[in-house]
């Protein structure tokens, strides 16, 4: 009986110890992070070229978890107009995203016959090719190293209505990423 008691006691101790010390209750975390690139201009010219720049380290979700990041992957992207002159339009909208070196292109998206206010409260989802997604994901490898992006918005042959001789456009491009964080 003494041996049995000893065995039960030891078993309970082992189970308790395993449960509270060895089992890791945490799983990987997958956070979605939307990166905003803001484009603003007050202009007179018939063509627009607006640059914008952003780095992952601008976002708390990245900075706070940088040391435990395992992977960052691209999910989706969208363009939306925040505020624009009435009937501001152009022949084509061209959105281009580059690596931080401003030369290596990650994707270029063109929308023919662009009217800014069509995308006010109605974002334009940017559909990328497999190759373009792959370009972004390759650039996002080694997530512990901060990555910056350079983006441009181009609009040609601008027309608009209203009494003013100038126009304005406040808009943004968002691209959504997923951060895989180890516990």
């Amino acid at each position: 009986m003494k041996k049995l008691n000893k065995l039960i006691f030891t078993g309970l101790l082992i189970i308790t110890s395993l449960a509270f010390n060895s089992c890791n209750p945490f799983d990987d975390v997958y956070l979605t992070l939307a990166l905003d690139l803001d484009f603003s201009i007050n202009g007179l010219l018939s063509n627009i070229f607006i640059p914008a720049e952003i780095c992952l380290s601008n976002f708390d979700d990245y900075s706070d978890n940088k040391d435990n990041l395992e992977e960052i992957t691209y999910i989706s992207a969208a363009y939306l107009t925040v505020l624009a002159t009435d009937s501001l339009a152009g022949d084509s909208l061209k959105l281009t995203l580059y690596q931080a070196d401003r030369r290596t292109m990650l994707f270029q998206y063109t929308k023919a016959k662009f009217t800014a206010n069509d995308y006010f409260n109605a974002p334009l989802e940017i559909v990328l090719s497999v190759q373009e997604k792959s370009n972004i994901n390759n650039y996002l490898k080694n997530p512990k190293v901060d990555k910056c992006f350079y983006a441009t918005l181009e609009l040609s042959n601008i027309t608009f209505s209203g009494p003013s001789q100038s126009y304005f456009l406040n808009s943004k491009m968002q691209f959504l990423t997923e951060l895989k964080i180890k516990p």
């Binding site: 009986m1 049995l4 008691n5 039960i8 006691f9 309970l12 189970i15 308790t16 449960a19 509270f20 089992c23 890791n24 209750p25 945490f26 799983d27 990987d28 975390v29 997958y30 956070l31 979605t32 992070l33 939307a34 905003d36 706070d64 978890n65 435990n68 999910i75 989706s76 969208a78 939306l80 409260n121 109605a122 974002p123 989802e125 943004k172 968002q174 959504l176 964080i181 516990p183």
Partner: protein, 302 residues
């Protein structure tokens, strides 16, 4: 409200984890219907936690008895408690992929009129370790169990626990009955409030948990085996500040919202064993319920 929900669990789990502090949880931007679904598993877990570890023997002394128990628990978080189906109730937003609940790990998103809306991730827990202490005194085959942690203020947070259990050995009325059988009523309350003066950070969680069980035990020498069937219910009042920066919810937005969230607790089956070594008792059991829970206990029993 960043990190506040983490702090709730932290304050009651009483162990630190860098994961909680790093990831945190920001649920202010969740609409009330989504927030309700997001925290529902927390309500269920409270019901599981507070209704665990309440017995290891159906025998209640005929004269006088006293117990002090330290109970450790390990609750497995099932997959269906890790995600919920978002319903943002915004026109033009279609089907949204399942997103993490408070225990989940993968957040979802949708494209709204203002751009991408991203849901928060959860605490990414596969299991929740937890402990509790309790006292019990018995007289005439009836036992009163008490769990008490006075409402204490930790900086801007207040937390308190109060629980009671009343148990009676019904087999004491049946002479020479081969096993001990008892019935037990349980009520436990958990109260957490965070208020730093900024309404945007206000959080209140009040969890009420009720259970009724019938359990039986049989002692052979130092070993006691026990089993029980329990009905249980839980509900949680959850108050948070709903931040609606895009004014998509004109009635509910930008104010403190009160939600009443019922847990998914119904029945549980418990099976376990205890070893009595003088005044000391060591026990372990498994509880088959929404969150399968393993408990171990160390008790002073005389």
């Amino acid at each position: 409200m960043r990190n506040i929900l983490s702090a709730v669990l932290l304050s009651i789990i009483l162990f630190s984890s860098t994961t909680f502090s790093q990831i945190g949880i920001t649920i202010n931007k969740l609409s009330p219907s989504d927030a309700s679904q997001y925290v529902k598993p927390l309500s269920t877990w409270f019901g599981t936690y507070f209704n665990s570890g309440t017995y290891y023997d159906a025998k209640v002394p005929a004269l006088f008895g006293f117990k002090f128990n330290l109970v450790g628990m390990w609750s497995l978080v099932p997959d269906d408690q890790k995600t919920f189906k978002p319903d943002p109730k915004i026109s033009g937003v279609g089907d949204v992929d399942p997103s993490a609940t408070v225990f989940g790990n993968k957040s979802s998103y949708y494209l709204s009129s203002n751009g991408f809306y991203t849901y928060p991730a959860g605490l990414s827990l596969n299991a929740v370790p937890m402990g509790i202490y309790q006292f019990a005194g018995s007289f005439f085959n009836t036992e009163l169990m008490v769990r008490f942690f006075p409402k204490v203020k930790f900086q801007d947070a207040k937390v308190g626990i109060l629980g009671f259990g009343l148990k009676h050995e019904i087999s004491s009325h049946i002479p020479l009955f081969p096993v001990n059988i008892s019935v037990q009523l349980l009520y436990n309350n958990f109260d957490f409030e965070f208020d730093d003066g900024d309404p945007a950070n206000y959080t209140k969680i009040k969890s009420n948990n009720f259970a009724f069980n019938v359990h039986a035990s049989k002692s052979i020498s130092l070993l006691t085996v026990y089993s029980g069937l329990q009905y249980e219910s839980s509900s949680m009042d959850f108050n948070y500040y709903f931040e609606d920066s895009n004014n998509q919810y004109p009635v509910e937005g930008n104010k403190i919202i009160n939600l009443k969230v019922d847990g998914d607790n119904n029945f549980r089956f418990t099976f376990g064993g205890a070893v009595k070594l003088g005044f000391f008792v060591i026990n372990a059991d498994v509880n088959l319920t929404k969150f399968t829970t393993f408990t171990t206990g160390l008790s002073l029993d005389f």
